[in-house]
């Protein structure tokens, strides 16, 4: 029994030491506490899962995308074969490619719902305008990601859909011709196009997507979700006011006792440093 008690207290001491050590050097404990226990509106909780579902699906995209890269070969001779190998031969290849494909499909649908929810609840209103703009940028990036991913299979569907897509893009006034020529790496969809779409799909666009997700989340945390923020700040302010009054009352009591003791020393009437004391305590 004494043994268990000792182990317990030693474990508690050790974990306390680790937590303090990390907190002192990184502030991670305060940060975690801040992130985890932030009050959020209860009323829209299920609606707000649309945003986190988007984040989850993008995470799935990143993870399965990395795994697909272990086998995928971005050349016109091998691209289709490598995708076929992933689908038919590789360990869990069908699952990994399936998750990449289906989570991409869900992603587009969930983003649509997420946008609709924010639009119809007026979530873009001041001071959250910029988060809406960042959201639209994220939508556009995801659409381009979806488009560039289609060609990488190098099958009939992906190939000819990309040909049509490039054709449509070339009708863009003024810049269309040059932009499409750059994307194709020539005049027609060919080896250079596959390389460029590959570079865009696995490097440039994810790299662009990540910081915008960061900004989106930062702004979300800064302003809170739609509208309800003010309700709980008011409530928290009221709690702190109550606690202050309570503490004040308790202090008053202590002070009374002290006053009685200190009376002989002539400090009884000195309330001057009370505010100071209060500050140091809180």
């Amino acid at each position: 029994m004494g043994m268990i008690g000792r182990v317990r207290s030693q474990t508690a001491d050790a974990s306390k030491f680790v937590v303090d050590w990390m907190e002192h050097r990184t502030g991670i404990v305060t940060l975690t506490e801040h992130f985890l226990y932030e009050p959020v509106p209860k009323r829209g909780a299920w609606l707000y899962t649309l945003g986190s579902a988007t984040l989850f699906l993008i995470t799935l995209q990143f993870l399965t995308g990395i795994l697909l890269l272990f086998y995928y070969v971005p050349s016109i001779e091998d691209a289709w074969n490598s995708v076929y190998y992933i689908q038919e031969e590789a360990y869990f290849g069908a699952l990994i490619r399936g998750i990449h494909y289906w989570s991409a499909n869900f992603l587009l649908a969930v983003i649509g719902l997420h946008m609709a929810q924010v639009f119809f609840s007026g979530g873009y209103k001041a001071p959250r305008e910029l988060n809406w703009v960042v959201g639209v940028i994220l939508l556009l990036l995801v659409i381009v990601l979806a488009f560039t991913g289609y060609l990488l299979r190098w099958d009939q569907d992906g190939f000819w859909a990309s040909v049509v897509g490039m054709k449509i893009g070339s009708y863009t006034p003024f810049v269309g011709g040059a932009t499409i020529h750059f994307l194709l790496g020539g005049d027609v969809v060919g080896p250079a196009t596959l390389s460029r779409f590959f570079a865009l799909h696995v490097w440039l666009l994810p790299a662009a997507l990540a910081p915008f997700i960061g900004i989106h989340l930062y702004l979300l945390r800064r302003h809170g979700v739609f509208g309800s923020e003010f309700e709980y700040t008011e409530r928290l302010a009221k709690l702190h006011e109550n606690q202050r009054l309570e503490e004040y009352a308790r202090y008053e009591l202590d002070e009374g006792e002290e006053e009685y003791e200190d009376g002989e020393n002539g400090y009884g009437d000195d309330y001057g440093d009370r505010g100071d004391y209060e500050d140091r305590r809180s």
């Binding site: 009050p39 209103k125 809406w132 049509v164 009221k238």
Partner: protein
């Protein structure tokens, strides 16, 4: 603020707020953890299960290897481009395609970006911003209708 249905005895102004009940109001807030996190995890889990099940029941498609010489292959965009493809049908010919394919969507994207500055009123409630809501519904209906049109076209004329 004061929700009769939750049986709260007092309106929020009179309630005594303590450490325990500060996030308690059922009509107000929950802690991000575990309240919101749990709900997020339920949804994420459901999506993951759906993806896994679909991976095996409806495997990710892979058609024949690309044949650059074939001239009669009719490509299908993915479903989320259906409405865009369908919209192009309304802008036939070389004179209009640039307008329909690029200018109209471009204007739409710009309008989408500046939505917060187009609807600047102080009200959040959908009931108090009829104009924004009607426009939003029209856009939604247009997109959905175009998608349905594209689907019906694909079903009715598989080869085109």
């Amino acid at each position: 603020m004061y929700d009769v249905t939750t049986g709260k005895a007092r309106p929020v102004e009179e309630e005594i707020i303590t450490e325990e009940n500060v996030y308690d109001r059922p009509d107000e807030t929950i802690g991000f953890f575990p309240g919101q996190v749990l709900k997020d995890l339920y949804v994420a889990f459901a999506l993951l299960v759906a993806c896994i099940v679909l991976s095996y029941t409806i495997p990710a498609p892979l058609s024949d290897p690309a044949n650059t010489a074939s001239v009669d292959y009719v490509p299908r965009p993915e479903w989320f481009f259906f409405f865009y493809e369908q919209m192009l049908m309304f802008f036939p010919g070389y004179a209009l395609i640039s307008f329909g394919a690029v200018v109209v969507p471009g204007v739409f994207v710009v309008l989408l970006m500046i939505v917060p500055w187009l609807d600047r009123g102080p009200n959040h409630s959908p009931l108090k911003r009829p104009f924004a809501i009607v426009v939003g519904l029209l856009v939604t209906v247009t997109v959905v209708l175009n998608m349905l049109l594209a689907v019906s076209r694909i079903i009715n004329f598989p080869g085109q």
